[in-house]
């Protein structure tokens, strides 16, 4: 039953034949759910099949070369920033001791709470002519107008790299950090015994071992950057996503827009495939369950302070500056805090994000568990397919979601009409359920990636033991895997929660009447070009986002604390035979 193609990264082992009802249910469920999640992307491909008139000669001769080059530059720039910042800070907080390490460990995740479009707005406010920075410069040097001095323009490609880099690096930080922590102390100890110094250890052992995790983090950050429309349109950076947008709206050519989006998608999938293919033969297993205290280097004197600076800088740039600016602007509108509309929006944001996160976790567990039980090309493929929504620009994905959802809605209405004599109208869209669907489609990649990775770290021996002791596959999931993966599940849930909270394009397009979330409230104010009015709701997103982000940081930190680890592993030892 278990196919043995070497493409899946998960451990290979045999299980009972999938003949039980539970397992057939699981198989059916995964096909159904993956199909549901991929439907919007199919809708986009379908839209792309129409005729876009004479669009392509125009695109090829004018925008495409420029848009591709801008997009590649932006991705390279953001990629370098998130890699350098994410990996270096993760290494410092996991492997070194220096003043404030514990605090940085948590605080480095804070920029997660800030949506890209908000950080873009904030930096323009901060750095443009009337902002505080230039005002101080003018006062200091007695300049009169902007022609008297040079100041870097934030609304530029460089500016976009900067803001996106410092708001997206936590993806890399989070995955690199987890990877460094989990690297078997043995591997590192052996290297140290063989005389590797800290630098050599980092380059030759830790970094290659962490490569899959870092790639996952960088990929997520680059997808965000590729699909962003808020910041790039605000900064006038003409990326491919920008062209998709122009083609759709200014030339009323949705077909053409879908075509560009489809080609982008193919491009992204090809990249992901090559990366995956490149490391298909690499396998990293934990050979022992020894998660002893990691070796740590004490950084003394200037080295310690350098580490402090390296860790503080991204927090200041990606979180503190924009938040302080929002705070100062919001304080002028403090009376808005008592607007019931703001609280209603916050409530909507919370329940939508919570339900969407729960649903994402449930679907991810099913897909990843089936892949664990029956590792094959098919189950691996299902997992990848379910993650595809993340690779499509948000605005166009929103339209892609619209068509299947509305079709389904119309089908429901038609069938109740036939059965009971009354139509339900648009149940899914009218109730906000469509939004939850949209969030799951968009962000399933996040929770699936984490949960699939979490399964990969649990040795198959536990499954065997559990099954041979009489548990069913479902029982094993509930009694063995879920308890072991609690921290992974929690962090996946929190990650999804934060992402859903920040989501804008699909929320705008698919929400019911008189219904706002915090993100759409920010958008409403920002579209009247009134930054001041947008500051308070923007700050609310950041504040609401901080709570799950701190929980996220704590979960991932707790998981690996030595004491806990010992306790946990002794519990496991009771279930699993000693190795």
């Amino acid at each position: 039953m278990t196919s043995r193609h070497g493409h899946s990264g998960s451990p290979q082992y045999r299980t009972a034949a999938p003949s039980s009802r539970g397992e057939r249910l699981l198989a059916f469920g995964t096909y159904f759910l993956a199909g549901l999640v991929v439907m919007p992307v199919i809708a986009i491909v379908f839209m792309a099949m129409g005729s876009s008139g004479n669009l392509w000669p125009h695109l090829v001769s004018t925008i495409l070369p420029r848009a591709i080059s801008t997009t590649v530059q932006l991705m390279v720039g953001v990629g370098v920033i998130v890699f350098v910042v994410g990996v270096s800070t993760a290494w410092l907080v996991t492997m070194c001791r220096f003043p404030g390490r514990r605090l940085f460990d948590l605080a480095l995740l804070l920029p997660f709470a800030v949506p890209t479009y908000i950080i873009a707005f904030s930096y323009v406010e901060l750095l443009d002519y009337t902002g505080p920075v230039q005002s101080v410069i003018r006062n200091l040097f007695g300049f009169q107008t902007s022609r008297d001095y040079w100041f870097p323009e934030i609304r530029s490609l460089g500016g976009a790299m900067f803001v996106m880099g410092f708001v997206l690096y936590p993806y890399v930080y989070l995955s690199a950090r987890a990877s460094f922590l989990i690297q078997s102390a043995c591997a590192l100890d052996v290297s140290r015994t063989l005389g590797a110094g800290p630098l050599r250890l980092f380059w030759k052992v830790a970094l290659p071992l962490a490569r899959p995790a870092i790639v996952v983090g960088v990929t997520l950050a680059l997808m965000e950057c590729l699909n962003d429309i808020g910041a790039v349109s605000f900064f006038g950076v003409q990326t491919l996503t920008f062209s998709v947008y122009d083609t759709w709206l200014n030339r009323s050519n949705l077909t053409g827009a879908a075509q560009i989006a489809t080609i982008m998608l193919v491009f992204v999938l090809a990249l992901m495939f090559f990366e995956y293919y490149g490391r298909r033969k690499q396998r990293f297993h934990q050979t022992t369950g020894t998660y002893r205290a990691l070796p740590s280097y004490e950084l003394k004197g200037w080295r310690g302070w350098l580490a402090v600076v390296i860790c503080a800088l991204p927090i200041i740039l990606g979180f503190a500056f924009p938040s302080l600016l929002l705070l100062s602007r919001a304080s002028r509108r403090i009376e808005d805090l008592f607007e019931p509309a703001l609280w209603a929006a916050a409530g909507n944001t919370l329940w939508l994000a919570a339900v969407a996160a729960a649903v994402s976790i449930a679907i991810s567990l099913m897909l990843a568990y089936r892949r664990r039980l029956f590792p094959s090309n098919v189950t691996t493929f299902l997992g990848r397919v379910a993650s595809i929504g993340y690779a499509v620009p948000g605005t166009i994905l929103a339209v892609g979601i619209l068509f299947p959802v509305a079709a389904l809605d119309n089908m429901i209405s038609a069938s109740t009409q036939a059965l009971f004599g009354f139509g339900t109208g648009l149940l899914l869209i009218g109730s906000g359920t469509a939004l939850i669907y949209a969030y799951v489609v968009r962000f399933l990649a996040m929770s699936y990636g984490q949960i699939d990775g979490g399964f990969g770290k649990i040795t198959p021996h536990y499954d065997m033991a559990s099954r041979s002791l009489g548990h069913t596959a479902w029982g094993t999931l509930g009694r063995v895997h879920m308890p072991l993966m609690k921290p992974v599940i929690l962090s996946a849930a929190l990650l999804s929660f934060v992402e859903c909270m920040k989501e804008l394009p699909a929320t705008l397009l698919l929400r019911p009447f008189n219904f706002e979330t915090l993100a759409t409230t920010v958008y409403n104010s920002a579209s009247t070009e009134a930054f001041e009015d947008a500051a308070l709701p923007a700050l609310s997103i950041v504040l609401v986002g901080i709570i799950p982000v701190i929980m996220l940081a704590k979960t991932s930190a707790d998981t690996f604390r030595e004491k806990r680890a010992n306790k946990r592993f002794s519990k496991e030892a009771a279930i699993a035979p000693a190795e």
Binding site: H58, T62, R66, V124, D128, Y129, T130, T145, S146, R147, D148, E153, R155, G236, D246, W248, L249, N250, R251, S252, N253, A354, A358, V359, I361, A362, M366, A398, V399, L402, A406, A407, D409, N410, S413, G423, G425, L426, L427, I429, G430, S431, T433, I436, W474, L477, M482, I489, L508, L509, L510, P512, F513, N514, N524, S525, S527, T528, E529, A530
Partner: protein, 349 residues
Amino acid sequence: MKLLLKGFGLTAVGFALGTTALVASAQAEEEVNIYSYRMPELIKPLLDAFTEKTGVTANLVYASDGLGERMQAEGANSPADVLLSVDIGRLQSAKDLGVSQPLENEVINNNIPENLRDPEGHWFGLTTRARVIYASKDRVSQDTITYEELADPKWKGRLCTRSGQHVYSIGLFASMIAHKGEAETEKWMEGVRDNLARRPTGGDRDQVKSIYSGECDIALGNTYYMGKMQTNEKDPEQKEWADSVRIIFPNTEDRGTHVNISGMILAKHAPNKENAIKLMEFLASDEAQSIYAAENFEYPVEAGIEPSELVASWGDFKADDISLAEIAALRAKASEMADVVSFDDGPAS
């Protein structure tokens, strides 16, 4: 497993809640459902006045893009009755998507001039806004200007504007094509691009700010932003920016200043058609037109309704009376040309 069940449970609860909300709203007596490309802030006073007058509750979804597609996807079950839009382009594409229905209504047709509504009755203009020149009070002395003149090298390094792909810019470019033809417009767009002080970015208010900062001397912008800034009590620094510029209406000597419209369509499958028409008649009425003028600093379309005092203080102008249907048809071309001349890359040198 527990978590799994919890997830499904929560979805079910969410679904049930939503359904009850839906049923409850379906029972409400009189209502009209609006999909709006116009910001809620700008239409709220109008809808409040409408509800007060008629007792009909107005429900609203605002989004900047895609509402036409949403109506198309929703099909016959679409709850939308009326679509409100900020520019001619989106009105026209709603018509092209087949989500509108023609309306022959005496009240509306009497109040809205012919060149500001669709010949087939699918869309109606409600207000006009002129695309004008903001000029520095200190550094620009001339009192008249033409759009053509913006390509004159004397403005080199002195002109600012927002993105050439923004709907307002596209509207202006399309009107140039309508009047001057493609070849001349392309040359003109290159000239304008080369006069830019910086790459086109930001919104219309940002252009005023750029004049205030000394980065440029003239800029393109819509009229009502000036009103919004001049009366901004919450952010008095915007009054200061606005105070550094004055408005010049281009081409008043010849064809007139380019105007765009905000407007409305009646949804093809409007479930509350009667109320929808009530709302549309109201929006075209004296009362609503005066509110537009007073609160939003736009120009009413109805003859005889005066603009607000502040708007009037910017001076009289002659509006280009070319049919907006013609401009709408040239938008795609205008957008392509903005790409061809790399307008958004800024000056060539």
